[in-house]
C-alpha cells in the first residue's frame, strides 16, 4: 500500500510516499529522513525523548502515525537554531548544565519550547516541574533543567516585550 503524504519539516515541505501505514513520525524522521535528533527512548510515550512540535504543539512522535499527520507542520531539534546561533532554550540548557549524557536533551528542549508557547508555567518552578513531567532524565539533571526552563522563559518574554515596545 503506497500512502503519499506531505509534511512541512523545519520549514521545508517534503512529499513522502509511505510504503507501510505503521510508520510513526519518530521512525519516519529518524530512519527515512535522517533527522536523528528526536530520540527513541521507550517508544511507548513514557519518556519524552521523542518530543517534537506538530502544528506548534509538543507531542510524543513515537505514538503518532505519520500517515495520520498528512499536511502537518513539524519542528524538530534540528530546526530550532538559526545557523550557528542557538535557540534561547538551547543556550539556557548549556548555561545551567541542563543535561549530562544528552540523550533526553532534544526532547527536553522541544518540550520546553512547547511549554513556553503554551504559557502555563510562568515563573513558578513547581509549575515548570509539573509541566515537564513527560520528559524523563535518567542522569537526573532535573535541577538544571528547571533553571534552564525558567531562564529561557524569562529571556524570551523580555525579548518579546522589547520587540513590541
Amino acid at each position: 500500500m503506497n500512502l503519499p503524504i506531505s509534511l512541512t519539516i523545519n520549514g521545508v515541505r517534503r512529499e513522502i510516499v509511505l510504503d507501510d501505514p505503521r510508520v510513526t513520525l519518530l521512525d519516519l524522521l529518524r530512519e527515512r529522513l535522517d533527522l536523528t535528533g528526536a530520540k527513541k527512548g521507550c517508544d511507548r510515550g513514557q519518556c519524552g525523548a521523542c518530543t517534537i512540535l506538530v502544528d506548534g504543539w509538543r507531542i510524543n512522535s513515537c505514538l503518532a502515525l505519520a500517515v495520520s499527520h498528512d499536511g502537518a507542520v513539524i519542528t524538530t531539534i534540528e530546526g530550532v537554531a538559526q545557523g550557528d546561533q542557538l535557540h534561547p532554550v538551547q543556550a539556557a540548557f548549556i548555561a545551567h548544565d541542563g543535561f549530562q549524557c544528552g540523550f533526553c536533551t532534544p526532547g527536553q528542549i522541544m518540550s520546553t519550547i512547547g511549554l513556553i508557547q503554551e504559557g502555563q508555567a510562568g515563573d513558578d518552578p513547581e509549575r515548570v516541574r509539573e509541566c515537564m513531567s513527560g520528559n524523563l532524565c535518567r542522569c537526573g539533571a532535573y535541577a538544571g533543567i528547571t533553571e534552564a526552563v525558567l531562564e529561557a522563559q524569562a529571556n524570551m518574554t523580555h525579548a518579546k516585550q522589547r520587540r513590541s515596545a
Binding site: M1, L3, D20, P21, R22, T24, D43, R44, G45, G48, T51, W57, R58, I59, N60, L63, A64, L65, V67, S68, S111, G114, L115, E118, Q120, D124, E126, R127, R129, E130, C131, M132, S133, G134, N135
Partner: protein, 348 residues
C-alpha cells in the same frame, strides 16, 4: 505491530461504514491504541482515521445552557479553555492531573473515554486475561494486584478504568452522543462503561461501528463551579495513573449543602458515582463528621480483590479530603500540582 489497512473517511457516515467490518478500529490520536498495537494487545486489521472528520473539534455553548464538546477536542485545549475551566473547574483539574503535557496535547476527549485499563496482565500478552481472550482466566487475581478494583469487580476481571477526566464528568451527569448504523443516540456517561461480570471483554455499551461524536455537560453542571475539586493519589507526584481519586462538587447555600455530586476513580472498571453518599450530604451542614459518613457510604460495598484492602480506607480518606477542599472553595487558579493532595493551596 500487525499490519492493517488504513482508511481516512471524509464524513461520519463513511467512517461508520468503514468501521462496521469485523476487526476494524477507530483511530483518533492513537496515544493509547498505538501503544497497545505495539505490544500486540490490540491487533486491528483496519484503522479508520477519524481525525479529519468535519465539525468534531468544536466546543459549543448551546442555547439551553449546556456545553457540547466535540469528540476530537484535545484534552489540553479543553483544560486550558479559560471559560471551560471557570465553569467546570473539577473537570479541568482532572484533565491536567492526567498523563503528561505531550499526551494531553495529542489525546482527544472521545479517546479518553475509550482508553483501556492499565492492568499489567492485560498489557502482557503472555498472561491470562479474560479481556484479551475471553475464557482464558485472570492472572491478576493471584498476581500483583494492589492497584486493582475494590468495587464492582468479578472473579473474571479486577481491572480498573484509568481515566481521570471521566470521574468529574460522571459526577456532573455528562451525556455521550453516539453515531451508529441506526443513526444518533445518547447515553449517560455513567451507563457507557460496563462492569466486568462474566463478560469482561465487553467494556462499553458501544456496538460495532458506533462512534462517539460529542460529550454534553448539562446546564446544571455550572452550578457547582464555586465548590469543585478533583483529588488524586498517585505513586509519584506527576504523570501517573490514580491509585484512587475523587471528584467532589457541592452547591452550598446559607451554610448548607444544597446538592452534592461525588464520584471515584481508580476503584472499579468504570468511573464510580457515589449516589448514596450524595444523599447523605444533601441538605446537611458541611463538616468533617458528615464527610466521613459520606465516605463510609461511598465505600460500603467495597471488598478487596487482592492485596488492595488499603484502597478502601485510602478511598474514604480521599473522599473526605475532596469534600473538605470543595467546601473550602474552588481555588482561583488550578493548583501547580493539579489534583495533588500535597498541593500547597489555601484550604488544603
Amino acid at each position: 505491530m500487525m499490519n492493517f489497512d488504513y482508511v481516512r473517511p471524509a464524513n461520519v457516515a463513511d467512517a461508520i461504514a468503514a468501521a462496521s467490518e469485523k476487526g476494524a478500529a477507530y483511530l483518533a490520536s492513537g496515544t493509547n491504541l498505538l501503544d497497545l498495537m505495539k505490544g500486540g494487545v490490540c491487533r486491528p486489521s483496519r484503522l479508520v482515521d477519524v481525525t479529519r472528520l468535519p465539525g468534531l473539534d468544536r466546543i459549543e455553548r448551546l442555547a439551553d445552557g449546556s456545553l457540547r464538546i466535540g469528540a476530537l477536542v484535545r484534552n489540553a485545549y479543553l483544560a486550558h479553555d479559560a471559560e471551560f475551566a471557570y465553569a467546570y473547574p473539577a473537570v479541568a483539574e482532572a484533565l491536567l492531573s492526567g498523563a503528561s503535557a505531550q499526551l494531553r496535547n495529542a489525546a482527544t476527549v472521545g479517546g479518553n473515554l475509550l482508553q483501556r485499563t492499565r492492568c499489567a496482565y492485560f498489557y502482557d500478552v503472555g498472561s491470562a486475561c479474560n479481556k484479551r481472550w475471553p475464557g482464558a482466566g485472570c492472572d491478576a487475581l493471584k498476581g500483583e494486584n494492589r492497584l486493582h478494583a475494590v468495587l464492582g469487580w468479578s472473579e473474571g476481571c479486577i481491572a480498573t478504568h484509568p481515566s481521570d477526566f471521566c470521574v468529574p464528568l460522571v459526577a456532573l451527569d455528562t451525556v455521550v452522543e453516539i453515531e451508529g448504523k441506526d443513526g444518533r443516540r445518547e447515553l449517560p456517561l455513567e451507563a457507557l462503561h460496563r462492569l466486568p461480570g462474566d463478560a469482561p471483554s465487553r467494556e462499553t455499551e458501544l456496538e460495532r461501528g458506533d462512534l462517539i461524536v460529542a460529550l454534553r455537560l448539562p446546564a446544571q453542571a455550572k452550578d457547582f463551579a464555586a465548590h469543585a475539586r478533583y483529588i488524586k493519589v498517585r505513586e509519584r507526584t506527576s504523570y501517573a495513573f490514580a491509585v484512587v481519586s475523587a471528584a467532589a462538587t457541592l452547591r452550598i447555600t446559607d451554610g448548607k449543602i444544597g446538592e452534592a455530586r461525588l464520584a471515584l476513580g481508580g476503584v472499579a472498571a468504570k468511573p464510580w458515582r457515589a449516589r448514596e453518599a450524595e444523599q447523605i450530604l444533601a441538605g446537611a451542614s458541611p463538616d468533617a463528621a458528615l464527610y466521613r459518613e459520606a465516605a463510609r457510604a461511598a465505600l460500603a460495598d467495597a471488598k478487596p480483590s487482592g492485596d488492595n484492602t488499603f484502597k478502601i480506607e485510602l478511598a474514604q480518606r480521599i473522599v473526605v479530603r475532596a469534600l473538605s477542599l470543595a467546601a473550602a472553595g474552588t481555588p482561583a487558579r488550578i493548583p501547580a500540582l493539579p489534583g495533588s493532595p500535597f498541593s500547597s493551596v489555601a484550604g488544603a
